[in-house]
Symmetry: C2
Subunit: 346 residues, 2 copies
Amino acid sequence: MKQKITLKKIAKEFGVSISTVSKALKDSHEISLEVKERIQAFAKYYHYKPNNLALNLRNQKTKTIGVIIPEIVHHFFTTVITGIEKLANDKGYNVMICLSNESYEKEVLNMDMLANGVVDGIIVSVAKETEEKGTYDHFRELIHNGMPLVMFDRVIEEIKCNKVIADDKGGAFLATDKLINNGCTKIAIITTPDYVTVGCERKEGYLKALEAGNLKINKDLIINIDDKQSVEDQLQILFLNENIPDGIFAVNEIYAATVMKVAASFGYHIPDDIEVIGFTDSLISEFATPSITSVSQHGRSMGQKAFELLLDEIDSEDSDYQYKTALIQTDLKVRNSTKKTHLQKL
Amino acid sequence: MKQKITLKKIAKEFGVSISTVSKALKDSHEISLEVKERIQAFAKYYHYKPNNLALNLRNQKTKTIGVIIPEIVHHFFTTVITGIEKLANDKGYNVMICLSNESYEKEVLNMDMLANGVVDGIIVSVAKETEEKGTYDHFRELIHNGMPLVMFDRVIEEIKCNKVIADDKGGAFLATDKLINNGCTKIAIITTPDYVTVGCERKEGYLKALEAGNLKINKDLIINIDDKQSVEDQLQILFLNENIPDGIFAVNEIYAATVMKVAASFGYHIPDDIEVIGFTDSLISEFATPSITSVSQHGRSMGQKAFELLLDEIDSEDSDYQYKTALIQTDLKVRNSTKKTHLQKL
DNA sequence: CTGTTAGCGCGTTCAG
DNA sequence: CTGAACGCGCTAACAG
């Protein structure tokens, strides 16, 4: 950068002291009207702006928050970021985005970096690897050092901090219940390994709905997908034994779209033979054929709420700050992958 | 943040001067071995880390770069960011992401903010509104002030700076040519308004391919979509007059998926009646039915190249730095929306 | 080998 | 009404 205009230079220009200039620019009553006007005009002409670096150092804050997400090529996370960004900008904050790529090590690295005077607070969605390892000391230390921290979506029960979660259990219940109401009796769930908290929550909602609908649980219909292997291959099994499902609840969009493809390859028609509901509503659900009924998570709202809580903590002076957990409602967006009974009813 | 350990505190602890501590921690040969060891051990024990804010002020740089994109809920941009982020982190840089939301004003605001000592360089993809207005002074001023700037994807011809673009014209040519080779003779293009540079480039590739294939240009088959209105409605016209296309090239995925839906609603089958090719390869193309053949842009490579160029400029001391424009190759990912002739050939 | 001084740019007492 | 002095945390040139 070309060197910018500073208080010092203005002071020199007018043959006054730096502090006089500083005060003049803040319209201090201590400075004579005439001097103020001349200095202000000069500053304006040269587009004077206080140097952020200096302000940061002086104020010991940066007006920047950090967001650590596992993946950015992921519609849900981008909607959350949109929500965070919007509100943050309105409040005069910048947003620094870091990707953990689902890696524990990268998550720790990012946090260390952000914590070292880069941001005033951190919003994080925990990496799968971290959830798998169960190693949470980096969060504890961060909090212990007084850095405001908000977790969203993938949160950790045992860490005390502000949290924002979608009503995963409720959403899964809604979805499963919808399938039951549509007449499905053999309902499968396609979910993540159990250490992924959101997957776990959604499975619980599924189980609860089955129970409420007096359907018995069939272990063969519970598929835990290992992302390191081919999703399609792992889904084959659903259609290979005698007990073919007539309804499928997938805990994310990709699983939903993929299982539809696999089902089609086995000659099943959706929704006539099998109904499908996904979780996380985005473009894939909208543009798949048939379009996929899914549980919408309201990512933007989650992002906004997360920033709200973070700001609340940043601004709080209390030493006995009370952490909150915000639950964001989910709801069902009905599309064509579940239209069967809807049409029959007509 | 809880107050951290500083040089000053360590100095006090040992009853030495601050600079002694500073040197000791850098293993300076000027300091006696014994003092060094004691200080280093102490520092390590208390997790001493130099304060970033102070370093930034002193070095007049932040080791952070800014990225301004029009939209983050957009697969292409997220792949670019992934590419930028990866390389930037490897080189010890942080990435700050700002959204312009396609708004000129927000773009200017973001740039002003970033330029004010927040980042060492900026990577930007120009907002549609800016392209529409044709007001580029904010870029000129930025460059004039010596802030390294790289434009990607949506670039501005008349601004001199480093640029990274996909081979839009080439990709569009590939796509159109493919349709021609598959036997299509009435090929439509669904594109953006002409002020969007990428749309314009892609239209040129389309026109060039038509010319090369000895097909005459039919204005009725060139649809400029206005994003402010319903895309579906604007696409109806393609199927309402007598001249129904037998091939369609859409300059993005959404247009491609949407036109497939509209065509289907008119009773046309894809790819048997009409073949479709999109631009920008992502999940929609993959999961649509039929899956959509599309031009892949290699967003990650673009991101990496963009950061590479930015770093090159940041590190350059030359006053007569030579700007470059990197062209990233595109290629065709053939899927089912163009399978017709492929099957016929068998 | 160690310490003093100056400076990065700003804001805020506290004297004058 | 104005300016000198100090501190934020760190580094580097310069003395001793």
